[in-house]
């Protein structure tokens, strides 16, 4: 039974294993602490202002009093419309590039362009949106222009992440499906998409946060400092109107408005976080539902 004795080599191996384990755990903690610290700090600073009334009322007294309802609704508008444009187009483009397009220089160039676009700073998308939608297409400074600009910004990332998700479905599944007389589209719809949907949704979820948080693209194209709306209305903005947005509101509160109690920008940030969390939770719920249906 001597082969089961703890020789010095085995002891060293166990020791290394333990060190690796603690190092990895330490890294995990060091990632979690800043996140928790930021959230806790925000809530602590925001506490005096946070209330349901803060969410549901309009800002008053030059932003120094009142709530954030117009900005909250504005952000919902922008995120929803931009995703309604970017997600279907992005997914279809990725399906085409992955499942239909032949490997030639043209499609390689498109792939490269998509990846590069995904890395372009948002302020550049903002300028493009200003030129293309506000002036070029004459939509003007509006919810629609801002949403389209956000869509242009998020679409390349959605295409890239969807492509990764599609490529993760083993090629042998596609071959088996073709062997059974399924067309390309039947194979995509019945085999490829159901098995990559959670990866696709994960990519889109990340873009929800990005669209809700970016200030530059909407500042140039449709978001304004202040806009009066009827309190409590669900659809206060028309598509060709300008709107307020949480990210923009946060920016103006903290840099452009003197004499604001610091609890107000912090409470605005908390609401932005909660909005992103809740949209993400819905997406995660959809993902789990779809996954259980595949099984």
């Amino acid at each position: 039974m001597s082969r089961f004795l703890v020789t010095p080599q085995v002891a060293a191996k166990i020791r290394q294993e333990r060190i690796a384990h603690s190092v990895l755990a330490l890294i995990l903690v060091s990632i979690l602490i800043p996140l928790l610290a930021i959230v806790a700090y925000l809530f602590w600073r925001a506490a005096p202002a946070l209330s349901l009334d803060f969410l549901l009322s309009s800002p008053t007294l030059g932003m120094r009093e009142g709530g954030v309802w117009p900005a909250f609704v504005g952000t919902l508008y922008l995120v929803t419309i931009s995703l309604a444009v970017a997600a279907p187009l992005g997914i279809l483009a990725a399906v085409y590039l992955t499942e239909y397009a032949r490997e030639n220089w043209f499609n390689k160039a498109i792939n490269l362009a998509v990846l590069n676009l995904a890395g372009v700073p948002s302020i550049v998308h903002a300028l493009f949106g200003l030129g293309a939608f506000v002036y070029g297409a004459r939509i003007g400074f509006s919810v629609l222009s801002a949403s389209l600009t956000l869509a242009i910004m998020t679409m390349p990332v959605i295409i890239a992440s969807t492509r990764q998700a599609l490529l993760s479905v083993p090629h042998s599944y596609r071959e088996a499906s073709w062997n059974l007389g399924a067309s390309r589209w039947q194979t995509i719809r019945r085999i490829v998409l159901p098995n990559s949907i959670s990866g696709i949704l994960t990519g889109i979820i990340l873009q929800v946060s990005r669209a809700a948080g970016e200030t530059a693209p909407i500042m140039f194209t449709g978001a304004v400092f202040y806009k009066a709306i009827k309190p409590g209305t669900l659809f206060p903005y028309a598509l060709d109107e300008q709107c307020m947005a949480l990210s923009m509101h946060l920016y103006t509160l903290s840099t452009q408005t003197p004499g604001v109690d610091e609890s107000i920008p912090n409470a605005t940030a908390v609401l932005l976080l909660l909005l992103v969390f809740s949209v993400n939770s819905v997406a995660i719920a959809i993902r789990m539902l779809l996954r259980s249906r595949v099984r």
Binding site: E103, W178, G181, I191
Partner: protein, 251 residues
């Protein structure tokens, strides 16, 4: 006996590298044609040419004529319909990420069958044919990938039968499964012979000897010999390379 499948001057190359060189042969109705040959001799590529899954490999270029029941299928043709007429069982069982039931129902559904009873009947008939029904009838809704290797291979056989193919191709189906399952599937193939034609690609010369009505010896993309199985294995072969391969002197 009539010819179901005729192949004339079939050549195939991958980016200029020749894999199949001017093959001409036929597959008769209700026969098992065994194809033997060492690795890299082009056996699997040949099957891919028959059901045109070769089209999905961009660097492949194929020439020659393939006729199924006298109709040319090597040019532009309705490939989904063609693939339904040819069943394919791959070397490693690929259970689609669906339930056992849906694995077998997949082809009928893709072909547009929507009647529930019709699909259920097809699934039961095909699973029975593939001698898998008794093992899975109580758990048809489980994922097909949870079955054992041998069961999965029988599942892919049931799946290949679900679209009523006229020609069934098996590509080294026994490579990943146990001898008992292999024997059971061989038995199934004998039972199927009166209904369709079978092309059996195999690395096991003894399997070709057991099952093949005729045997083709493929080497480096060329047909060395094609004839009745007992003649190929009788020892009085015409080509010394065939004798060498069968006797295990190479390959």
């Amino acid at each position: 006996m009539s010819n179901r499948l005729e192949v004339h001057n079939l050549s195939l190359s991958y980016s200029g590298h020749r894999v199949l060189n001017d093959l001409s042969f036929d597959v008769r109705a209700n026969e098992i044609l065994a194809i033997i040959g060492p690795a890299q001799s082009g056996k699997s590529s040949l099957l891919r040419c028959l059901n045109r899954t070769i089209d999905f490999i961009p660097q492949a270029s194929m020439s020659g004529r393939v006729l199924l029941d006298g109709t040319v299928v090597s040019g532009k043709t309705d490939l989904d319909v063609l693939r339904r007429r040819i069943g394919m069982v791959s070397p490693l069982p690929v259970g689609l990420p669906l339930s056992i039931f849906e694995n077998v129902a997949f082809a009928p559904r893709c072909a547009g069958v929507s009647s529930r009873t019709e699909i259920a009947e097809t699934v039961e008939r095909c699973l029975r044919r593939a001698v898998l029904w008794d093992e899975v009838k109580d758990r048809l809704s489980l994922p097909g990938t949870q079955l054992s290797g041998g069961q999965q291979q029988r599942l892919t056989l049931a799946r290949a039968l679900s679209h009523n193919p006229e020609i069934l191709c098996l590509d080294e189906f026994s490579i990943a499964i146990d001898p008992v399952t292999t024997m059971r599937i061989e038995e199934v193939l004998r039972e199927l012979r009166p209904e369709l034609s079978i092309i059996l690609v195999t690395n096991l010369t003894q399997q070709a000897r057991r099952l093949g009505d005729r045997t083709m010896f493929l080497l480096n993309g060329e047909i060395v010999e094609l004839g009745p199985t007992d003649k190929i294995f009788s020892g009085v072969v015409q080509d010394p390379r065939t004798a060498d391969y069968i006797n295990g002197n190479f390959g």
